[in-house]
Structure formats: structure tokens, C-alpha cells
């Protein structure tokens, strides 16, 4: 890094931070997200107990100074478990979104570029995946794949990819008619090169916007799957599962259900605000705040 670069860096960061701070909702989301991120990254340092340690002498203790969020029916410390749960949820959100983008983008890109019958049928194929009410397709897919954390993640990716295919498709259709793509074709470039070097960089902004807005929903959907018993399984540390296992006890011991429940709420809330902010930054024409 040269001297010029370092002198430039703060001002650039300052403008970015200025924009972040200028947008109140984005700022709130940003701060909350940083807290969740710190919880996830530094879980082993911040945890006060082993999240898997069972201790029947301490079961169902209310929140106190020794157990910040109380303990569950197996005497496990909820505060420590929620910290580790942040890792699971962020990992799920990230993996599912990346996988969905990786499947959806090439499909939409190729369908828009190829056009004609092939493009038409490729998009009708993705339409089949959109024909299901939300949550139903992942539920049906876990019936085939089996029930577990990774199966749920694959199921969620499969139900999310068509949206990316659709978004990229409409961009790709437009871009494939542009002069530079036509001239690239005329110059005899290979299809792969045109698709991924020339067209992709001009097609992916809406997909990224969509991805940032879907992140929270993905975490929510994954928690719901775990909650109804077809997602994460013990000993996975997952918030939806933690709420589910408390179901028989929560009327008398509210914290066992509410603590992990609020963790989901705060995380998804933060991610939604962040997603809106990213949309405003990337797409100034979008429908405001």
C-alpha cells in the first residue's frame, strides 16, 4: 500500500460511514448486526459455560447473574447456547443465499442470453419451483432428503434459486440485446466468455440486492423448519430448535422459549434493516425506505 492510498482510505471510509449514519434505520440494523456478528465470532470467548454441558442440578433456572439468560430443561446455560446459535444461524443464511445465487444466476443468465425456445423452457422449469406456497417446498424437499440441518439448508436453497434466476433473466434479456454483447459475438468470442465476463457484471446488482434482502427471511425459514422438527436436530445448537424443545415447559419457564426466540427476532430485524439499506445504496430508484 502506498502513502497516497492510506491518505485516501479514511476519507472514503468516512463517506461510507457518513452514509450509513445518515440513514437511521440502516444504522440501527448495522449496530444490531455487528452485535450478532461479534456474538457469533467470539462465542468461545464470550460464553460463560460449555453450551453442550448438561447439568440436571441447575435445570430451568431463571435468568440471574450466574446464568444471564437462565438454563434449559437439561440445565444448559442459555446465554452460552444463544451465542453459539448465532454461528449456526449466520452460517445457514450465508450458505443458503450463496448456494441459491450460484444456482439461480447461471440459469437466468443463460436463459436470457439464449432466448428462444430454450430460454423459455428453462424459465418454465424454474417456474415450477415458484408454484409452491412459501415453506411448503422446503418442507416437501426435506421429506426426500431426510431431516437435518444440512438437508434443510439444501431445501431452502432449492426453493430460493428460482427468484434469482428470474431477476437475472430479465437483466440478461436486456443486456444480451445491447451493442457490446452483439459486437462481442461478432468478434467471435466464446459463449462462456461473453456470458460470464461481459454480461454477468452488468446483471448481478439486482441479484445482490435481492440476496441482501433475503438473508433475514432465510434465517427465519430455517428456524421455522427446525421448530417443526424437520431442520436442525440435537445436539445442533440452533435457535428454532431451542424454542421447540422448550414447548412443553414454556408456560411455567418463559425464558427457555423467549430468549432464543428474541435472538431470532433481533437478528432477522437487523438483517432486514441492513438489506433495505443495501437496496437503497445499490438501487437509488427503489421504493424508498
Amino acid at each position: 500500500m502506498t502513502a497516497v492510498d492510506t491518505s485516501n482510505e479514511p476519507s472514503r471510509w468516512a463517506t461510507l460511514l457518513g452514509r450509513v449514519a445518515g440513514n437511521k434505520t440502516f444504522f440501527v440494523g448495522f449496530v444490531l448486526f455487528i452485535i450478532v456478528l461479534i456474538a457469533a465470532i467470539f462465542a468461545p470467548l464470550l460464553a460463560t459455560y460449555d453450551p453442550l454441558a448438561i447439568n440436571f442440578d441447575d435445570k430451568l433456572l431463571p435468568p440471574s447473574l450466574t446464568h444471564f439468560f437462565g438454563t434449559d430443561e437439561l440445565g444448559r446455560d442459555l446465554y452460552s447456547r444463544i451465542l453459539y446459535g448465532a454461528r449456526t444461524s449466520l452460517m445457514i443464511g450465508l450458505m443458503v443465499t450463496i448456494l441459491a445465487v450460484l444456482i439461480g444466476t447461471p440459469i437466468g443468465l443463460i436463459a436470457g442470453y439464449a432466448g428462444g425456445r430454450f430460454g423459455f423452457w428453462l424459465m418454465r422449469f424454474t417456474d415450477v419451483f415458484i408454484a409452491f406456497p412459501p415453506l411448503l417446498l422446503p418442507i416437501a424437499i426435506t421429506a426426500a432428503l431426510g431431516q437435518g440441518l444440512y438437508e434443510a439448508m439444501i431445501a431452502l436453497s432449492i426453493s430460493a434459486f428460482p427468484w434469482y434466476a428470474r431477476i437475472v433473466y430479465s437483466e440478461s434479456q436486456r443486456v444480451s440485446q445491447s451493442l457490446y454483447v452483439k459486437s462481442a459475438k461478432a468478434s467471435g468470442f466464446g459463449h462462456g466468455r461473453i456470458l460470464f465476463k461481459h454480461m454477468l457484471p452488468n446483471c448481478w446488482t439486482p441479484a445482490i440486492t435481492q440476496a441482501s434482502m433475503d438473508f433475514g427471511y432465510t434465517i427465519l425459514a430455517a428456524a421455522s423448519l427446525s421448530f417443526i422438527g424437520i431442520g436442525a436436530k440435537e445436539p445442533d445448537i440452533e435457535w428454532g430448535l431451542m424454542v421447540a424443545t422448550s414447548r412443553t415447559k414454556f408456560l411455567d419457564f418463559w425464558w427457555v422459549a423467549m430468549m432464543p426466540g428474541f435472538a431470532i427476532l433481533i437478528t432477522v430485524f437487523a438483517l432486514n434493516l441492513l438489506g433495505d439499506g443495501v437496496r437503497d445504496l445499490l438501487d437509488p430508484k427503489g421504493d424508498g425506505k
Binding site: R124, V128, I139, A144, G216, S224, F227, I230, V243, F250
Partner: protein, 337 residues
């Protein structure tokens, strides 16, 4: 117009066929063998061979698919492996419960959500707008199961106003029986004049409806508000105002009308959205609908039930979307092809 409707119907049938292929595919790669499911864990080799042949599982996949499709078209989805009864009977018994829950939620969402969105847009940054925006920001972030359990904690646990779960009090049902006409308890009990049963049904319905509605409400409020703000910024609004029309008249007669058309799509979406999330609400409240049934079917590898429910809900979703599109053309002639 007619050819467009035909084309649209054609695409719908195609997509349904795709859904059929998909459910078939899902069922055939299922890990738990359906034969084992039927015969228990240690069947004899002959029994396995017999059932495999009976179910046609030894035939090539395309043959199996054609056979499956033929049966589905005749309305035969096979027997549930869990209860050994026809899947369609199982679904028929449970669907009214789901429908009642979803319909009540749709009504609640529209009655509360649309006005809230409209008034929020009319007075941006006013009190209603702040309430509306908080609901829409929080509502999409709250897991349905969390809000459901919070309601249970408050209304069933602390206040003891509402029953914790179920669809109706069995004892009440014994004393105040009513004939099943629509399958919707609220309607049937009212038709029979059994108000005690009606009350019990309504009390049981209250929490599931609220829990199911919140996230859809958040979406509707947000979208209505955006549509309304967009419609308000149209030039015809300025013109009408310039002509001296009262703002109430402009807002509710003209602007609302313009905002309503895109809202139709949203109503269709809401239906589908609620059908999907009802699975979670039904699970929490032990609601005897198809949502709870599909969860149990999955965990017991009851693939005919899973396939049938998936198929039926997807069809319902597609048909609703189709009608909403047709409604669009009825309301807005400009959209007609």
C-alpha cells in the same frame, strides 16, 4: 383476450404437470422405503417382493410415473402409510380446519392492513405512519412460532382468557352438536344456532389467527403504503386538486382506486403466503388441519400424504394466482391483452 386466458390456463396445466413430476421425484428418492413402512421393520423376503410388485415399485420409473399420473387425475392419491386410509379422505377431513384459519387471517389482514397502509401514506411520519412502519418492520422479523408462543404465554398462561390449543372444546361439542355443512366450525355452529359451540370455536380460533396474520399483515401494510404513496404522486392527483375537489374525495375516490389494482396481486400472494406459514401456526396450536398432518407425514416417511398435500396446496396456490390475474383484467381494462 380469450386466447390469452387459454394460454394462461395452458401454462398453469404445464406447471402443475411439473409439480407432479417433482412430487413424484421427491417420493421416489425418499430414504425410508415405503415397503418397509407398510410391513414393519422385519418383513419376510416374500412379503417385500409381493408388496413391491403390488405397488409397482419394481417397474421402470417412467412407467411408474404414468401410472401415478393416471391415478392422480382420477383423484386417487393412494393410502396414507401412517393411517392406512385414503389420503384424500384424510385431507378432506383436515382441509376445512386449515381453510377456516387461513380465511380468518386473510380477512383480518385485509381489514386491518389495508386501511392502516392507506392512512399511513396519507399522513407520512404521522402517528399512524409510525405505528404502521413499526408493525411492518417488526412483523416480518418475528417468527410465527415466537408470536404464537407469546400469545399463548399471555392469553392462555397469564390471563387464562383463551384456550391454549385445539379447535374446539370437546365437551362443548358433545353438548352442543351441530351438523357439518361447510366444515368451517364458525359457520356451521352459527347456522345451527349453537352459540355456545360458536363461542368455543371463536375462542380457539383467536390466537392461531392472530399469530398467523402478523407477518402477512406486515407485508400488506408495507405494500399498501408504498402503492398509495406512488398513486398520490401521480399527475392526475395534482389535476384533481387543481380543479378544487376536496382532498377526502381525491384520496378515497381516485387515489385509492389507483392503488387498489396492484393490491389485488398482493391479496393473492397473501393467500399463498398464509397457506405456507399455516404449517407452523397449526403445529404450535395443535390445530387439526393439513399443516400439522404434513409434518407428521414427513417424520413418518408417509410419502403418499406428503405428495398429495404438496400437490393440492400448489394447485390451490396456482388457481388463486390465476383468478387474481383474471380479476386484474376485470378491474383495469388497460391491462387486457
Amino acid at each position: 383476450m380469450f386466447t390469452y386466458v387459454l394460454k394462461r390456463l395452458g401454462t398453469m396445466v404445464l406447471i402443475l404437470l411439473g409439480v407432479l413430476v417433482m412430487t413424484f421425484f421427491i417420493s421416489r428418492v425418499l430414504p425410508g422405503s415405503p415397503v418397509e413402512m407398510l410391513l414393519g421393520s422385519r418383513p419376510t423376503a416374500e412379503a417385500v417382493a409381493r408388496v413391491t410388485e403390488e405397488m409397482g415399485l419394481d417397474r421402470p420409473l417412467p412407467v411408474q410415473f404414468v401410472r401415478y399420473m393416471g391415478e392422480v387425475i382420477q383423484g386417487d392419491f393412494g393410502n396414507s402409510l401412517m393411517t392406512k386410509r385414503p389420503v384424500l379422505t384424510e385431507i378432506g377431513e383436515r382441509f376445512p380446519a386449515t381453510l377456516e384459519l387461513v380465511l380468518c387471517s386473510v380477512l383480518l389482514v385485509l381489514i386491518v392492513g389495508v386501511p392502516l397502509g392507506v392512512f399511513a401514506a396519507l399522513r407520512q411520519n404521522g402517528v399512524i405512519d409510525v405505528v404502521a412502519r413499526s408493525i411492518s418492520a417488526l412483523g416480518v422479523a418475528v417468527p410465527t412460532f415466537l408470536i404464537a408462543m407469546m400469545l399463548q404465554l399471555l392469553f392462555a398462561g397469564k390471563l387464562r382468557w383463551l384456550p391454549l390449543q385445539g379447535r374446539i372444546d370437546d365437551l362443548v361439542l358433545l353438548d352442543h352438536e351441530f351438523p357439518s355443512v361447510t366444515g368451517l366450525y364458525l359457520v356451521d355452529s352459527a347456522l345451527a344456532g349453537q352459540w355456545v359451540a360458536f363461542q368455543s370455536a371463536a375462542a380457539h380460533l383467536a390466537m392461531p389467527t392472530l399469530a398467523l396474520s402478523l407477518s402477512a399483515l406486515a407485508l400488506i401494510v408495507r405494500i399498501t403504503r408504498t402503492m398509495m404513496i406512488e398513486a398520490l404522486s401521480e399527475e392526475f392527483v395534482t389535476t384533481l386538486r387543481a380543479y378544487g375537489l376536496s382532498s377526502t374525495r381525491v384520496n378515497f375516490r381516485y387515489v385509492l382506486k389507483a392503488a387498489m389494482i396492484p393490491l389485488l396481486t398482493v391479496v393473492g400472494m397473501t393467500f399463498g403466503y398464509l397457506l405456507g406459514t399455516s404449517v407452523v401456526a397449526e403445529f404450535v396450536f395443535d390445530w387439526p388441519g393439513i399443516g400439522g398432518f404434513i409434518v407428521r407425514a414427513i417424520t413418518t416417511s408417509d410419502f403418499p400424504s406428503v405428495m398429495a398435500i404438496t400437490m393440492l396446496l400448489a394447485s390451490a396456490y396456482l388457481i388463486i394466482t390465476f383468478f387474481v390475474d383474471m380479476l386484474h383484467f376485470a378491474v383495469d381494462p388497460r391491462l387486457r391483452p
